[in-house]
Every structure is written in C-alpha cells, then in structure tokens.
C-alpha cells in the first residue's frame, strides 16, 4: 500500500484526532488462551501520545509493556480495542496495508539491534527506504544525512558485526528514521549496552525527540531513564497504574 492509499484509508475510518496525537490507544485488551490457562496480558488499556512526545513505558516483567509495543507496532493483533496512528485505525487494515503502515509510519529499535550482519551499515539503514520503493538517489542521500547526524557516517561501509554495541544501536536508530516515521518504537534500546553507552544512546533518542520533534515510545526497565523522558506510563498486570508527566 502506498502512502496515498493510507490517506485514502484514513478518510474511510473515523478520524479520532486532528493532528495533535500521533498515537491513540483505546480500550486495548489482549488475552492469550492456551492449555496452561487464560492469561490477560492487557486489560482495557487506553492512552494517547502527542506528536513529538518522548514517552517511556515501564513496569515489571509480565506487566504487558512489550505486548503494548507489539500491538502499537502492528506486529500482533489485540483481542479487543483500537489503535490509531495518524488517525488511522491500524487493525482495520489488511496484512499488506499493515506492512506498508509499518514501513512508512513506524520505526523500530530493538534491544538486540536486529541488523543484517552480512551487509553494510549503509545498506542496513537504507533497507526500509528500499522496501518503500524510494529512488536510489533519495534513499542514498537521506541515509548519508542520517548517518552524519548520528555520527556514524565513517562506518557506512563496515558490517554491523564489526561495530561496538553502541554503534550498532545507532545504526538501528538510523534505520528507524529513514522513512521519516510518525512514531518510533524502542524496545529496551539500552538493554544490551553498558551504562555509559546506554546513556549515549538514550541521549541520542532524547535529542531526536527534542531537536527533531520525533515521537518516541520506549519500553525500559531502567527507572532513571524513564524519569528522563517527557512522560512515563507504568503498567502492572496489564493495566495502566500510573501515567505521569516527568
């Protein structure tokens, strides 16, 4: 699906917000039924995130924070509830349209970087642009601008496996930015890094939020990092326990 199609789709769905919210989650529930029993991973969770906001999602293990991130990233479907990104009800889309949504409007940053190690930094970063069908000139010039902004332009021809953890996470951040997404989802982005490198990566995300007005949702275990974001949503047992402005 092209971006035009997304716009067209948005006119068919109820537009819940008018530009002020990048993301809106409404009454989201996720229940897993298995032979071991029924597990309520998310129970009627609702929140909205403004454009440019840097929000942390915190909570103990099993609280449902990764489940929220998977739903917002359209990697999984909820049992009930709705998620709107740019006003589009993402679960009203079919699989192909969801893939296009992920490509154009969502940027992912993973704890373990998830880079393709056989190819170069440059090709890793340009991959979402290639999938989007951007022209080579556009995707190459945008890739170089982002690599320069993140201070890793000199690593462009190296393979990720030859970089430090911090550098690899910068490459992953660069990749998440290439298609200028509405929202960046970061799943424990500092989890695999030492404290100093983790702080550097976090500062970079903060810079992206404040300087370039990127909307970022970050799942973290680290309360200090969470307090340094604009807002923290604390989940416990699949419900929002606290939603605080820092």
């Amino acid at each position: 699906m092209t971006k035009d199609l997304v716009v067209e789709k948005s006119t068919q769905n109820e537009i819940v917000d008018n530009n002020s919210f990048a993301l809106r989650v409404e009454s989201l529930s996720k229940i897993y039924d298995s032979s071991a029993g029924r597990v309520v991973a998310l129970d009627n969770v609702s929140f909205a995130i403004k454009r440019g906001e840097f929000v942390s999602v915190v909570g103990p293990s099993g609280s449902g924070k990764s489940t929220v991130l998977n739903m917002v990233g359209a990697l999984d479907r909820p049992t009930s509830g709705k998620i709107y990104i740019d006003g589009i009800d993402i679960f009203s889309l079919n699989d192909s349209e969801i893939a296009t949504m992920r490509n154009g409007r969502i940027g992912f940053i993973f704890q373990s970087f998830n880079l393709i190690n056989r190819t170069t930094v440059h090709k890793n970063v340009r991959l979402p642009g290639m999938i989007a069908g951007m022209s080579n000139d556009d995707v190459n010039s945008r890739t170089m601008k982002i690599l320069e902004a993140l201070g890793i332009a000199d690593k462009r021809d190296q393979k990720p496996v030859n970089l430090s953890g911090g550098q690899q996470q910068r490459v992953a951040i660069a990749r998440s930015l290439i298609n200028n997404p509405t929202i960046i989802l970061a799943d424990e982005p500092t989890g695999n890094l030492d404290t100093k490198t983790g702080d550097d990566v976090f500062d970079m995300l903060k810079m992206l939020s404040h300087k370039f007005k990127r909307t970022i949702v970050m799942v973290t275990h680290n309360p200090e990092l969470a307090e340094s974001t604009d807002r923290s949503i604390l989940l416990r047992d699949g419900r929002i326990e606290k939603d605080v402005i820092n």
Binding site: D76, S96, A99, N103, F108, N114, I131
Partner: protein, 412 residues
C-alpha cells in the same frame, strides 16, 4: 522493492553461506550436466548411425551365414557361402548383382610403422554398388584383377591424431595375417600390396577403416578356402528389396541371414530411443535430487534467518517481498547450476566421447563418435533445471513469507 535491490539482497544471502550455496549449486550442476552429457552422446550416436546407413544404397541386402539359434532348435546349420551358392543367388529373380566378400583383420607395416586394420576383400569395382557416393582421391586407380593392388579408406591414411599420413599412393605396404591350421599351429601369411587407390571420407566407418583388396588376394591372405564371409545382394530396384529378401529366405531358409540397411537402422533406432528414454529418466532423477538439495538448503536458511525475516517484516517488508527474496535465491542457484551444468556437460560430453572411443572389431583406427549438442535441447535442459530449482524454492519461500513477525522476532 525494486528488482535490482531484491537481487542484491538475495545474492548477498547466498554469498554469506558460501560453502552451502556452492554444494547446492553443485547438486544442480551434476543433474543438468548429466542430462546434457547423456543427451549429447545419445544424439551423436544416433547421427553417426544415420550417417552410416545413409551412405548405403537403398537396394542392397546384406547376406551372411545363418546361425543355429539358441532357442530355435529347428534352425538349420549355417550355410557355407561358396561360388555354388553365389551362382544360385544370381539365378533368383529381381537381383541385379551378387557381390561376395571376405573379411578379416591384418597388421600393416608401412615404412616401419605398424597398424592394425580391417580387410574387406571384394571386387573393388563393386564398391559403388554398396556405396553409390564413393569417391577416390586424385590419382587413384581401381585394379580389380591386380592381386597386389590395395585401396585404403581415409581413416587408414589419416589415423586420428597422427601428424603424417600413414600411407600414400603408390607406396608399398606389407600385410600380415595369421590363422590356425587346425592342429593348433599358428600360420603367418605375409603379402605386399601397392596402394593404388585412396578413398575420400565416405561416412561409412567400416569402409573408411578398411584395406580393400580383391577376392583372390583376400582368399590367400586370410586363408578363407573360397568360403565367403558375407554377400551383398543388390535388388533391381529399392522397391524389390522386400521381395528379394523373401526369395532368399524361401530358397535358403534359416541357413542364411538376410537383412537390409533399413531394418538394421530401425532396430538400432528403436534401441537408441529406449536408451534415450532411460538416459532422460536418469538425468531427471539427478535433477530432482538437486531440487531436494535446494529445498533443504533454503529451508535451513529460513530457519537460520528467522529473526532477519522478522526484522524485515517489522520494517515493512511485504509477504510477497520475503517470498520473492527466497525465490530469487532459488533461481540464482538454478541459473548458476544450470549454466555451469551446461558448460560442464558439453565439455564432459567431448571427454566421454573420447574416453569411450572404440576400435572396430577387425582392428584399425578407433572410431570416435562426437557428441551432438542441439541448442534447443540445451535450452530445454537449462529451463528444466531452473524451473525445478524455483519449484524447489517455493515451499521454503512460502514458509518464510507466512511467518508472523512477532513470532520470528522472538526466536533466538
């Protein structure tokens, strides 16, 4: 994603697993080259046979002594073909000529060089009855009554691989033949011959590999005691061949064997066609084994790259993009395997045709039957190998494309 990017991603994935990729390509190479080699040899053999029989006149019948059948006890004893029999044949209707011949093998010595050769002992003026298009090199003369004159085939003069001619016109050769005298003693007969004629390449390997001498000389040299080995019977017209063959059978029963070039050709073509079908089956089985190798390789690849597939999907790759990535990998394996297979098959065909070069039963230079590679057959083998590779890649590719991104990302 544009096709070039898709191709590069797939290519890099294959290069990343060099050894496994090479082994999989090797499987396809083996399959396709086997089909190419066998097809080429089979086509070469068929063309060789056709050429042999096309050189023969359409009205001739080959007659030889019949043999007691293993299964048919009623079959009579083999008939000794002598001049009485020849005269009897000549008296039959619709026969224009009866040409007896002796056959054997000799050792030839020419200026210190020695070669084995077949001998056809026949009235040399009658050679054109059997091979109407036979031509001699300039300077040749046919001397039917000269017991010391010999005509030699092109392959005798120019043995394959030899830098110089083995004999030239007017040169003398010494022919040696041996036989057993019945008491266990080996008798050696030696005779000198002057080369009076050299045949141009006739396309008939028997004649091209023969030294042709007249009947009297052959009777002495080969110690035949006036017992002919075979007879060429020429019917008045090609249309009379079946009638004459029946007449011979009626007159001499099973004591004589009579067959026509057409019949020999038909039997050989039938055998060749059965052979070709078998060969094709072997080749296709080899290709299928190669395809199973591709399934295994790509399936392993999907399992190993499951997180990569999850990541690709998370950043927006469509199911069709993932499907295409793996299918392109399968196609690349197929293209490389099929192309290399074709080249190796063509080379292998020539090597095998040389390795399987055989000497004629009577001796003489070896007969080399070159393989024939028909472009359309090569294209078919290439397309078949490629198609099987892509088909083999379908299941792993489909499996990869259907992976849930969340499940794939969680996999260690």
């Amino acid at each position: 994603m544009n096709p070039k990017d898709l191709f590069l991603l797939s290519f890099e994935a294959l290069v990343d697993r060099k050894v496994r990729t090479l082994l999989t390509i090797l499987m396809v190479v083996l399959g396709s080259s086997l089909v190419v080699v066998l097809n080429g040899l089979s086509a070469g053999q068929a063309a060789f046979l056709e050429k042999q029989f096309n050189t023969l006149a359409a009205n001739v019948i080959f007659v030889s002594s019949g043999q007691r059948g293993f299964r048919d006890a009623s079959a009579g004893n083999a008939l000794i073909i002598n001049n009485v029999i020849i005269e009897k044949m000549k008296s039959l209707p619709l026969i224009s000529d009866v040409i007896p011949e002796y056959a054997g093998s000799i050792t030839m010595n020419s200026q210190g060089n020695t070669e084995r050769a077949s001998v056809t002992s026949i009235d040399p003026t009658k050679l054109t009855v059997m091979l109407p298009n036979l031509e001699y090199v300039d300077g040749s003369t046919v001397k039917p009554n000269d017991r010391s004159a010999a005509i030699v085939g092109d392959t005798i003069v120019n043995p394959p691989g030899a830098a110089n001619a083995f004999v030239t016109l007017g040169q003398t050769i010494v022919a040696t033949s041996t036989y057993s005298d019945g008491t266990g003693k080996t008798v050696t007969v030696t005779k000198s011959f002057v080369i009076s004629g050299i045949l141009k390449p006739s396309g008939n390997s028997r004649i091209d590999n023969s030294v042709i001498i007249n009947l009297d000389a052959g009777n002495d040299l080969l110690h035949k005691l006036n017992k002919y080995d075979s007879v060429i019977v020429a019917a008045a017209t090609p249309d009379d061949v079946d009638t004459v063959q029946q007449e011979l059978s009626d007159t001499f029963g099973k004591t004589l064997g009579a067959t026509t070039p057409k019949a020999i050709m038909a039997v050989r073509q039938q055998a060749a066609s059965g052979n070709a079908a078998f060969i094709l089956m072997v080749g296709i089985i080899a290709l299928v084994v190669g395809a199973v190798g591709i399934v295994t390789t790509l399936y392993n690849s999907v399992t190993e790259r499951i997180r990569e597939i999850g990541t690709m999907k998370a950043i927006g790759a469509q199911n069709t993009t993932i499907l295409a990535l793996f299918l392109v990998e399968a196609a690349l394996i197929g293209i490389l395997g099929a192309s290399l297979g074709l080249l190796i098959g063509i080379g292998g065909g020539y090597v095998m045709s040389i390795a399987t070069t055989t000497s004629p039963a009577g001796g003489g230079p070896a007969v080399h039957i070159p393989p024939i590679f028909i472009p359309m057959d090569l294209i078919k083998v290439w397309l078949l190998s490629l198609s099987l590779s892509v088909i083999a890649g379908m299941y792993p590719a489909w499996k990869a494309s259907k992976l849930s991104p969340m499940v794939a990302l969680r996999r260690e």
